[in-house]
């Protein structure tokens, strides 16, 4: 079993369907580019430590992150605060990372999620999936972070 783009897409779709939007499932766009939107990109990152160390990154346009936070926490879209976007994006990375971790052989553990408003360097991404949510795209990548060993 390997963690490839198919698996990343599938795990992300399940997380999305459960906690963000059951009515509008994510459509797999394979390696289509991320549409960044006018307000920049929010990136949630979580490190996986262990023999197969890596990082899972979830990048989405700021507007999409805000809309996702509103749905995840069931709050009015106009009332979404920066902290909500931060929590929601971090949790998306956390959950996808946790599911990726569960598929790896051997002892692995997760770091704490971090959220940035600028793209991180992709390092040597080994798998990626671009997904479409309504008019937004999101990009989920798995990279081998340097120094991310147990």
């Amino acid at each position: 079993m390997s963690v490839d783009g198919e698996v990343l897409a599938e795990l992300t779709q399940a997380v999305w369907e459960s906690f963000v939007d059951a009515e509008m499932p994510l459509v797999d766009l394979y390696d289509a580019p991320l549409e960044t939107g006018p307000d920049g990109v929010v990136v949630g990152t979580i490190a996986i430590h262990g023999p197969e160390a890596g990082r899972v990154n979830v990048a989405l346009p700021a507007q999409a992150a805000s809309a996702a936070a509103a749905r995840m926490f069931d709050i009015d879209p106009s009332a979404v605060a920066e902290a909500d976007v931060h929590d929601a994006t971090g949790e998306l990375a956390n959950m996808i990372g946790g599911n990726v971790k569960a598929m790896l052989a051997g002892e692995h553990h997760l770091g704490l999620p971090s959220v940035t408003v600028a793209p991180t360097d992709p390092y040597d991404a080994v798998a990626s999936a671009t997904l479409l949510w309504g008019e937004h795209t999101l990009l989920v990548t798995l990279d081998r972070a340097p120094g991310g060993t147990s």
């Binding site: 459960s18 995840m72 999620p113």
Partner: protein, 131 residues
């Protein structure tokens, strides 16, 4: 009915507490096993022992598996239904949690309906209440 929600992720506590509130639970939150035990002591002193604890596995200070064992070891808390709510989904991990004394196991991600189903089967939510 009270429920204790134990997760180091604030986002996940909000989601789980939100679902439980819809199912008519009053929720108390804790961010790791140790703070959960402190909350349980307080609730017990106030004669409000929760009927349910939803427990994440990986948390700092004291993890969910240790918390399950600690609760199972205390006679005052033997009526609390323990449900692990975690991304840990390996076959062997689920077996470990059940063997430690967890009654149910919900793998993240899960839908509100899936959580409600499990609680209904455990007799904690009436058949007609939906998430």
């Amino acid at each position: 009915m009270h429920a204790l929600v134990v997760d180091d992720s604030r986002a996940m506590r909000r989601i789980v507490a939100g679902i439980l509130t819809t199912l008519h639970f009053q929720t108390v939150e804790a961010d790791n096993g140790a703070t959960a035990l402190a909350e349980l002591e307080q609730l017990t002193a106030a004669d409000r022992v929760p009927a349910l604890a939803c427990i994440d596995w990986n948390m700092p200070v004291m993890d969910g598996l240790e918390l399950v064992s600690a609760i199972r070891a205390d006679r005052r808390w033997r009526d609390i239904t323990l449900m692990m709510v975690t991304t840990e989904s390996e076959h062997g991990q689920i077996v470990r949690a059940l063997a430690a004394g967890a009654h149910e196991y919900l793998i993240k991600p899960f839908t509100a309906d899936a959580m409600a189903d499990k609680l209904r089967y455990l007799g904690l939510v009436p058949a007609e209440v939906n998430a």
